[in-house]
């Protein structure tokens, strides 16, 4: 990162300790991936045996429920990311650049500050009744709305951060040249905050993909549930088939880890957003 580090010579103890930490981080994930390819007999046996086997994956997809849940999750992620990016960038832009009157600004900021503080479980009773009343209980659109509710404050604040780094003169120049406010936003400002869009999208996507409580409480399970709930279902059947459990886990985890490997920068930006200023 910074140049100052390059001049340093490696400290052997530091490097070895870090390797140990990395092993502690990777080992549990590697263990599950390993179990996913083992038959149950080898997993419960008291000796270490590793006959490679892909039957777990065939078993968990048999019946098609898990595949539908996978589709539900993909739908929820796409819907939530779309809503959060559209509303997040428009509201973020307004907050950062259009100096809204304080009777709009203050309630918006207070709401955005309070929603992330609320334990989602405390909202379950209210949301359950609300979704039931509008007929969206147990549907993908219902879960998209709920996920958006939880992620929007973050999306708005993050986008507003990115927009506020752009110089005001840019917008003024575009307006002077005769572009409408909307055109300025769409053609000039938005393309400049592409890193912000990426960070927001990746982060919101991860949150929506990993969401469990709402999927559990606001659907009736089975084919209407997201994949996290499907995986939990494997966990609770009492004749636990460990290999299938591990296989289901890898399906939810591996895409996210790949994202962490290749979109690391955006995830870090999302995780630390607005942190140090606190």
């Amino acid at each position: 990162m910074s140049i100052k580090l390059k001049s340093r010579r490696p400290n052997i103890i530091v490097e070895i300790l870090l390797i140990a930490v990395l092993i502690a981080v990777i080992a549990p994930i590697a263990w599950v991936t390993l179990l996913a390819f083992l038959p149950n007999r080898a997993i419960v046996s008291s000796s270490w045996e590793f006959p490679f086997w892909v039957g777990n994956y065939a078993d968990i997809f048999a019946g098609g429920t898990l595949f539908l849940q996978l589709l539900n999750s993909v739908g929820i992620v796409i819907g939530t990311v779309f809503i959060c990016l559209v509303i997040g960038s428009i509201s973020g832009y307004s907050l950062a650049k259009l100096s809204p009157p304080s009777w709009v600004k203050i309630p918006a900021l207070v709401l955005a500050g309070v929603i992330p503080l609320l334990p989602p479980a405390t909202l379950v009773p209210g949301l359950y009744v609300l979704l039931d009343n509008v007929g969206l209980l147990g549907t993908v659109p219902g879960l998209i709305l709920v996920n958006s509710l939880f992620n929007l404050p973050f999306a708005v604040l993050l986008m507003s951060n990115y927009f506020s780094t752009l110089p005001n003169e840019l917008r003024e120049a575009a307006l002077v040249d005769g572009a409408h406010e909307m055109r300025t936003f769409w053609l000039i400002m938005l393309p400049l905050v592409r890193p912000g869009l990426a960070a927001t999208g990746v982060f919101v996507g991860i949150m929506a993909w990993n969401e469990f409580l709402m999927g559990l409480t606001l659907t009736s399970g089975g084919e209407t549930a997201p994949i996290t709930v499907g995986i939990a279902g494997f966990l609770q059947q009492y004749a636990v088939t460990w290999g299938q459990l591990a296989a289901a886990g890898t399906i939810a985890a591996i895409p996210m880890i790949l994202l962490a490997v290749f979109a690391n920068r955006h995830i870090v930006a999302g995780l630390t957003a607005g942190s140090v200023k606190g």
């Binding site: 981080v25 009773p125 469990f212 995780l271």
Partner: protein, 259 residues
């Protein structure tokens, strides 16, 4: 809802005014207090644990050269994995029958433990799992703050003859204090929200030893169908959380004002 006796009829929910009766019932309930107590223990332990671990990691990575690029990438992996999957991963490690940990212990001639079957054991396991899961976030916060400390400042301290230990204690830690304070608040909020791990790893057991507030609400609402009390407890938890956060922010601004 908190102020009503709510019933689920054939036509949907019906509300009857109950005043503060639900709140009284919640405050008199042993389960509510147990959940609040468990939550307090859990939050305190995971907050301190992950901050210590995150701080050490940040200092290590800041000194690393060879491992730097790999460490910065791999260290955030746990934070992107779903809590559900994290629970599953650790179940596959801690379980008495299929768990990797007992197998490993037995290979070395030690006896396995039923990690999740005693109250303290279950709570400790959950705390360890939570620290594994969320230390990456703490690490990122502190590491970012660490990077913004100017090298000239440290160089100056070195010139004045300060040892590495003194620099850490007198220069680096005080400069990191705001970031550590901020991340501590973040961790408190995360602790109040936690649900998935208890639900899946221990189901709040054994005997309610790991039932935290979120699960208490979910149990009242969906198992006992006690909608009014669940809503009342929700409001109570939110109020306590906001009060604690305001208190923390207030203390912080007072301290910042003095120094």
């Amino acid at each position: 809802m908190a102020l009503s006796t709510v019933n689920l009829g054939a036509t949907g929910f019906s509300f009857d005014w109950a005043g503060i009766g639900n709140f009284q019932a919640v405050l008199a309930s042993k389960d509510a207090w147990e959940a609040l107590g468990n939550t307090a223990v859990f939050i305190l332990a995971t907050m301190i644990g992950s901050i210590v671990a995150g701080l050490i990691l940040a200092l290590l990575v800041n000194r690393a050269v060879v491992m730097l690029p790999i460490a910065r990438n791999v260290l955030i992996w746990p934070a992107v994995v779903a809590p559900v999957v994290v629970s599953l991963i650790w179940l596959l490690i801690l379980s008495p029958t299929a768990g990797g940990l007992n197998k490993l212990l037995e290979t070395f001639g030690l006896s396995g433990q039923a990690w999740l079957d005693t109250g303290p054991g279950a709570m400790l396991s959950l705390i360890a799992v939570d620290i594994w899961h969320w230390t990456p976030v703490v690490f990122l916060f502190i590491y970012t703050a660490l990077q913004s400390i100017s090298e000239e400042l440290l160089e100056a301290a070195r010139m004045d003859g300060a040892s590495e230990r003194q620099i850490l204690q007198r220069v680096i830690l005080p400069l990191l204090a705001p970031a550590i304070g901020a991340v501590a608040l973040v961790r408190v909020v995360m602790g109040v929200k936690v649900f998935d791990e208890m639900y899946l790893l221990t189901s709040g057991g054994p005997n309610g030893a790991t039932t935290l507030v979120s699960q208490r609400i979910q149990l009242w609402f969906f198992q006992d169908l006690n909608y009014g009390e669940a809503a009342a407890f929700s409001i109570l938890v939110v109020t306590i959380t906001i009060a604690i956060l305001l208190l923390a922010l207030f203390t912080r601004s007072r301290m910042a004002g003095r120094s």
